[in-house]
């Protein structure tokens, strides 16, 4: 068969290298991420493979992955430093043994774990991903929501790369950034708790607002979207509750409805894992909608409705396309007519069952923004022109399922 031993071949190869048309290459090369980052980057997280994948929606290319341990893989991106933050839970023996909760700092160029900060092993785990952790507006502190079931926040100084403090938040949960050194939590009675930290990340001030919604009658979801100094909370019944956090005390603006009366009668409703997104430059709100009765607030969406935040008027309804099919990361695709049929089937089955739908949306913050959709049903990421609603296609990133989604430069457009 003409096979040769390794040594022989290697020698032959090296001896003959000078005659090669393809030049000899060096071993050990590892790619880095480009700087500056692209405007259409998105992190998509897969709890089955326990990692998040960075994809460039401009060309559909995978840029790399970060592993994330048990739970929902979520990536935070500061504007101040070329870094990514991932909060992870591990056990010394996989699913048993000693628990370690850590915040890992990944290099924004290297995508390597450069440092880690050990946290109290109290981090909350839930299917929900919104509000589970937050990065302060000055990019200095990360707050991690703890639930034991006592509620508290672990504060990490990501600049100094050390654990700062644990701050108790009795009756209040989750964390949203609200100023350079301030976080906001949602309380069981429909109020907000404002937690301000000092330069060391310790508790400086903790205040409770009045309730701004009725958690019995129509609770707001955790899946809020940031619009400048406001947080927009959507309720189960599709009311937007804007909360202005520019001042010392929150200002609760008048609620407004995502659906008109006819649509309400038709059971149109917000739903999914992450159902709000804002494009700050144009002041547009994107809401993930489906038809379904009460208690379908976690059901994925079939349409995205776009609103002008200034006028609170709806600009457009986008009928979403299916997320395609993949099996354990391998896309089920074909060319020609079969490929066309597969696409049609994906579109046609969207919304046919509660979980064959879009579970999360996000929007990039550039001038030609992309609307991104993912769902548990597929490892694909679909993208649309966020201004026109035009469907641009799907990217398959090798994931088994995609349930978390973030656009890394949502507020800043890149690293400073």
């Amino acid at each position: 068969m003409g096979r040769r031993a390794l040594a022989g071949l290697l020698l032959v190869g090296l001896a003959a290298a000078a005659r090669a048309d393809v030049p000899v290459e060096s071993l050990g090369r590892v790619e880095t991420l480009p700087l500056p980052p692209g405007p259409h980057w998105a992190w998509v997280g897969d709890p089955v493979f326990r990692h998040a994948t960075l994809v460039d929606l401009s060309d559909g290319r995978t840029l790399g992955i970060v592993n994330a341990g048990f739970g929902m893989p979520t990536v935070l991106t500061p504007a101040a430093r070329p870094e990514f933050y991932v909060v992870e839970t591990h056990y010394s023996r996989g699913s048993r043994g000693e628990r370690s909760d850590v915040l890992t700092i990944y290099g924004g160029r290297s995508l390597a774990a450069e440092a880690e900060v050990v946290l109290p092993p109290k981090r909350a785990h839930a299917a929900n991903t919104a509000g589970m952790l937050a990065l302060s507006d000055d990019d200095r502190f990360v707050a991690v929501f703890n639930l034991t079931p006592a509620t508290s926040l672990s504060i990490v100084d990501v600049e100094a790369r050390r654990f700062s403090a644990e701050i108790e938040t009795p009756g209040c949960s989750l964390a949203y950034a609200a100023g350079p050194r301030r976080f906001v939590s949602l309380c069981m009675n429909g109020a907000l708790m404002l937690v301000e930290v000092d330069d060391e990340g310790r508790e400086a001030r903790k205040t409770r607002s009045e309730p701004f919604f009725d958690p019995q009658l129509d609770p707001v979801t955790e899946k809020a979207a940031r619009w400048e100094d406001r947080w927009l909370f959507a309720s189960f019944e599709s009311w937007i509750h804007p909360v202005d956090l520019s001042g010392a005390a929150p200002r609760f603006e008048e609620r407004w409805s995502l659906v008109n009366d006819a649509e309400r009668v038709d059971d149109w409703r917000i739903g999914g894992m992450q159902h709000l997104a804002v494009h700050e430059p144009t002041g547009r709100l994107y809401a993930l909608m489906h038809r379904g009765g009460p208690d379908t607030h976690k059901q994925g969406g079939t349409e995205v409705w776009i609103y002008d935040l200034a006028s609170r008027e709806r600009l457009q309804r986008i009928e979403l396309h299916g997320l395609g099919f993949s099996y354990l990361g391998v896309p089920l695709r074909a060319e020609g007519f079969t490929g066309w049929l597969i696409d049609k089937l994906a579109d046609w089955t969207l919304g046919m069952a509660p979980d064959i739908a879009v579970d999360a949306i996000a929007v990039t913050q550039d001038a030609a923004p992309r609307l991104v959709t993912v769902g548990a049903v597929s490892g694909a990421v679909a993208s649309y022109d966020a201004l026109t609603g035009e469907f641009l296609g799907r990217a398959y990133v090798g994931n088994a399922t995609n349930v978390t989604l973030s656009t890394p430069f949502a507020r800043t457009g890149g690293w400073r």
């Binding site: 909350a124 785990h125 299917a127 509000g131 939590s185 958690p215 979980d355 064959i356 579970d359 349930v403």
Partner: protein, 183 residues
């Protein structure tokens, strides 16, 4: 072909059959991490159907050949607010965890109507923990579910925080009492 489904009688029945209310592809994310924290369902409901009479098993359970009486079916009466994998499909039963797991002592209670006697029972939904996700018989019923900040009614939360490891495997539904018969 007829023999093919013999195994499956009463076991992991086709989820497709139930897609109008529940999952087929099952919100894998929720399923993998979300525990079985259980919302409290409204007690006040319309009058019960007549009790099935002779179909009732000695223990007061509905006919086990119907979904409402089959602990391996998402339609089993006690699962009225479960969100997770059914322990009964994972090596355990509706009220015992699979071998080698630990039952979380921290949990939430639901209220489910037993069609066999028309009574509302208080059900404790406890997560089975310390082995990774079972994967069988995903069952998601979000009725009465609230967001995470309303902790005791949020079925997204992984309630394994009460055991040695927070790793979620599956969920049981244990009768701990009877609620008032009319809410």
């Amino acid at each position: 072909m007829a023999r093919m489904d013999r195994w499956m009688t009463g076991f992991a029945r086709s989820l497709a059959r139930r897609t109008s209310r529940r999952s087929v592809l099952a919100g894998i994310g929720t399923a993998l991490v979300g525990g079985a924290a259980v919302p409290l369902l409204p007690v006040a409901r319309g009058r019960a159907e007549p009790a099935p009479g002779d179909r009732v098993t000695p223990s007061g359970e509905p006919d086990p050949t119907t979904p409402a009486g089959d602990p391996q079916d998402c339609g089993y009466w006690r699962y009225c607010a479960v969100d997770g994998f059914l322990s009964s499909c994972c090596g355990g039963s509706h009220n015992a965890c699979p071998p080698g797991t630990q039952m979380s002592p921290i949990t939430w209670l639901g209220t489910c109507r037993n069609p066999a006697d028309g009574k509302e029972y208080v059900i404790s939904y406890n997560d089975c923990c310390g082995k990774d996700v079972c994967g069988s018989c995903i069952c998601r019923r979000h009725e009465g579910d609230k967001p995470v900040y309303y902790t005791p009614k949020s079925n997204d939360i992984d309630w394994c925080m009460g055991t040695r490891e927070i790793i979620y495997n599956s969920t049981v539904a244990v009768v701990v009492g009877v609620a008032r018969e009319k809410g």
